[in-house]
C-alpha cells in the first residue's frame, strides 16, 4: 500500500454524518421490516415506530451528499449520462450503485411511512387507501429490508475499495461493521421514539433491546478484527484526536457503557431514564463518532 495516495478531503459534517444518518435509517427500516414480516400482530407497534423513524432520518441525506460535491448542480449525472442521454450505472463503483440504491430505498421508506399514516387514519389519501392491502406492503418491506442493509453496508465497501492505507487495510470488514453499527443505532433511534410515545416497556421493547445488544457485541468483535487486519495502518485511528474520539466516544461511551448498563439493569423491571434513554443516546453518539473517526483518520 502506498502512503502517497491522496485523501478525497470529504467534509466529515457531510460525508461521515451521511454514513451515520443513512445507516441509522437503514437499520431502523430493517428492524421494522423484519417485525412486519415475521413478528405478527404483536410487533405491529414496533414496525410502525420503525418506519416512522426511518424516513425522517433519510430525508436530509441527499442534501448532505449534494452539498459535498464540487459541482452540486450536476448531481443528476449520477443517474443520467448527459452525453449519451440514457440512464447510467457503473457496477464497479460502490458510489454509483449506492446512489441508485439510495433512490430506491428512499422510495420504499416513503411508501412504508405513508402506508402507516394511512393505516393509522392520520392521512386520508383515497388512491393510496384504495390500493392498500397486506400483500404489497409485505413486498416492499422485504425489498426495503435488503436495500436498507445495502445502504448501511455499501458505505463501508466504498471505503474498503480505495487505495487509502487505513481503508484498504481494513477490507473486507468495513461493510459488515457499518451494517452492525446501523442495526444498533437504528434500534436505539426506535427505542427513543418508543420512550417518547411512552411505550418503552413490555415484551416488544425487551425484544428490541435484545436485538440492539446482539448488534453491539457484533460491532465490537468486528472492530477488534478490523484493528488486527489494519496493523500499523490503524495508527491514525487509535492515537491522537481521532484515537480519543474512537476509544472514548465509540468503544467506551458508545458500546461498553450501554452494554454495561444493560447488564446492570437486567434485574430491574420497567424503564427509567438511565436504563433506556441514556444507552440509546450513547449508542447513537457512538455510531456517529465511529463514522467520523474512521473517515477522518483515513484522510490524515
Amino acid at each position: 500500500m502506498n502512503p502517497e495516495t491522496l485523501a478525497p478531503e470529504w467534509a466529515w459534517y457531510f460525508v461521515a454524518i451521511y454514513f451515520f444518518v443513512g445507516g441509522t435509517a437503514a437499520g431502523a427500516y430493517f428492524i421494522g421490516a423484519m417485525a412486519e414480516l415475521f413478528g405478527g400482530a404483536k410487533l405491529h407497534e414496533l414496525s410502525r415506530d420503525a418506519f416512522f423513524v426511518a424516513l425522517p432520518f433519510l430525508l436530509p441525506t441527499p442534501i448532505f451528499l449534494i452539498a459535498d460535491l464540487g459541482r452540486p448542480e450536476r448531481f443528476w449525472h449520477l443517474f443520467f449520462s448527459p452525453k449519451e442521454g440514457i440512464p447510467y450505472i457503473n457496477l464497479q463503483s460502490p458510489l454509483s450503485v449506492g446512489s441508485w440504491a439510495l433512490l430506491l430505498f428512499g422510495l420504499l421508506c416513503l411508501l412504508s411511512f405513508l402506508d402507516n399514516l394511512v393505516a393509522d387514519g392520520r392521512l386520508r389519501f383515497a388512491p393510496f387507501a384504495r390500493f392498500y392491502n397486506r400483500i404489497p406492503r409485505k413486498t416492499y418491506a422485504a425489498l426495503g429490508s435488503v436495500t436498507g442493509v445495502f445502504i448501511a453496508g455499501y458505505t463501508g465497501v466504498l471505503l474498503n475499495v480505495t487505495a487509502r492505507p487505513l481503508w484498504a487495510a481494513t477490507a473486507p470488514l468495513l461493510g459488515p461493521l457499518f451494517v452492525a453499527s446501523g442495526a444498533s443505532t437504528g434500534a436505539a433511534a426506535i427505542a427513543l421514539l418508543m420512550l417518547w410515545r411512552k411505550r418503552a416497556a413490555g415484551e416488544v421493547f425487551r425484544r428490541l433491546e435484545f436485538f440492539d445488544r446482539l448488534a453491539l457485541v457484533t460491532e465490537l468483535l468486528l472492530i477488534a478484527a478490523a484493528l488486527v487486519l489494519a496493523g500499523r495502518y490503524a495508527v491514525p485511528l487509535v492515537t491522537g484526536f481521532w484515537g480519543f474520539m474512537f476509544w472514548g466516544g465509540t468503544i467506551v461511551a458508545g458500546i461498553l457503557v450501554p452494554l454495561g448498563l444493560a447488564w446492570k439493569g437486567r434485574h430491574t423491571e420497567g424503564g427509567g431514564m438511565t436504563t433506556i434513554m441514556l444507552p440509546a443516546v450513547l449508542i447513537l453518539f457512538g455510531g456517529a463518532l465511529l463514522r467520523i473517526a474512521l473517515i477522518q483518520a483515513g484522510q490524515v
Binding site: 502517497e4 404483536k42 464540487g70 449519451e84 457503473n90 475499495v161 480505495t162 487505495a163
Partner: protein, 274 residues
C-alpha cells in the same frame, strides 16, 4: 494502437522543461500552496518552498500535472553519492482505479488508450482521488472537478506528441506507440545492465494492468516515490461485497431471533383443539 510515454530517468537532468511545457500547453494555474500573495508584495510570488533539493512542487496536484522528483543519495560523510531525477505524471493505467471508481462516466479511455476526465461531466464527488494507487488524480477547488494529465489528449488526437516529451531536451521522456516504446526500453535496460547498473529496472509493464506511461529507474521504485506493488483498489470489491452479503444474512438471523413470533401459533392451535 495505444499511445504512451517511456520515461528514461537515467538521462533526466532535472531541468523541469516538462513541467513548464505542461503548464503552458494545458493553461494550468500555479499551485496555490506554492505560489501566491504575500504581504508587502504587489504581485504573487513563490512561497512555501519544499526545502527538498530542487523539488518545487513536492507532489502532483490538480494544477501540477507533471512533477520532477529530486532524490539525493549520499553517504554519511557526503563524499560519495548520486543525484537521481524522475519526471512523474499520470501513468494512464490499463486497469485505472480512477476510471473504475467514477460514478458518472466522466472518466473515459479514448481510442488511443489515454484516460481523460471529461470536465463537463465530472460532478466533483472526489471518489476517484483515493482510488488512484499512485496518488495522481486530484480535486480542484477552482473548477469543482477532478483534474489530471490527459496525455495531451488534444495534441495526440491531432498527430502531435505530448507537450512534455516535445520539450524534453535529453530525450528522457519519449512519446509514441507503447509497443515500440517497450522495445526501446528493453534495449536501454540491457545496455545499462551491461554497463554494470544492476539496480536498473523497468516500472510499469505489469503494474495496474500495465502502465501506458512507464519508467526506467536506476533504483527501487519506492526510492522514486512509486508503490512497489500498486493494487488497483477494485480488486477488493468481490470479497468486500461478499462479506457485506454475509453481514446481511447475519443481521437477518439476529432479527429473526429477536422478532420472530415465538410459540404463539402453537398456543393458538392448542387453543382451537376441541
Amino acid at each position: 494502437m495505444a499511445k504512451g510515454m517511456f520515461v528514461d530517468t537515467t538521462i533526466c537532468t532535472g531541468c523541469k522543461a516538462c513541467q513548464v511545457a505542461c503548464k503552458e500547453w494545458n493553461g494550468l494555474a500555479p499551485e496555490p500552496k506554492h505560489f501566491g500573495q504575500v504581504t508587502g508584495k504587489p504581485y504573487p510570488v513563490a512561497v512555501n518552498f519544499t526545502g527538498n533539493s530542487y523539488d518545487n512542487t513536492g507532489a502532483l496536484s490538480a494544477t501540477d500535472w507533471r512533477h520532477v522528483r529530486f532524490i539525493e543519495q549520499f553517504d554519511e560523510k557526503r563524499t560519495a553519492g548520486r543525484w537521481l531525477f524522475s519526471s512523474d505524471s499520470c501513468k494512464h493505467c490499463n486497469d485505472a482505479g480512477c476510471l473504475n471508481a467514477c460514478p458518472t462516466g466522466a472518466i473515459i479511455r479514448t481510442d488511443l488508450g489515454n484516460v481523460v476526465v471529461q470536465q463537463d461531466v465530472c460532478i466533483g464527488c472526489k471518489y476517484c482521488v483515493p482510488s488512484c494507487p499512485f496518488g495522481v488524480i486530484a480535486f480542484s477547488e477552482k473548477s469543482g472537478t477532478a483534474r489530471k494529465c490527459t496525455l495531451c489528449n488534444d495534441r495526440i488526437h491531432n498527430g502531435l506528441g505530448t507537450a512534455c516529451a516535445k520539450a524534453c531536451p535529453t530525450g528522457s521522456i519519449s512519446f509514441g506507440d507503447v509497443t515500440a516504446l517497450k522495445k526501446r526500453a528493453d534495449a536501454r535496460l540491457a545496455q545499462l545492465r551491461g554497463l554494470g547498473m544492476t539496480g536498473a529496472n523497468i516500472y510499469g509493464y505489469t503494474e495496474a494492468g500495465g502502465l501506458n506511461v512507464f519508467y526506467l529507474f536506476a533504483d527501487k521504485p519506492s526510492v522514486y516515490g512509486q508503490p512497489e506493488r500498486p493494487v488497483v483498489p477494485q480488486q477488493r470489491l468481490p470479497v468486500s461485497s461478499a462479506a457485506t452479503v454475509l453481514a446481511l444474512v447475519g443481521v437477518g438471523v439476529a432479527a429473526l431471533a429477536s422478532f420472530r413470533e415465538r410459540g404463539d401459533r402453537e398456543a393458538e392451535e392448542v387453543h382451537h383443539e376441541p
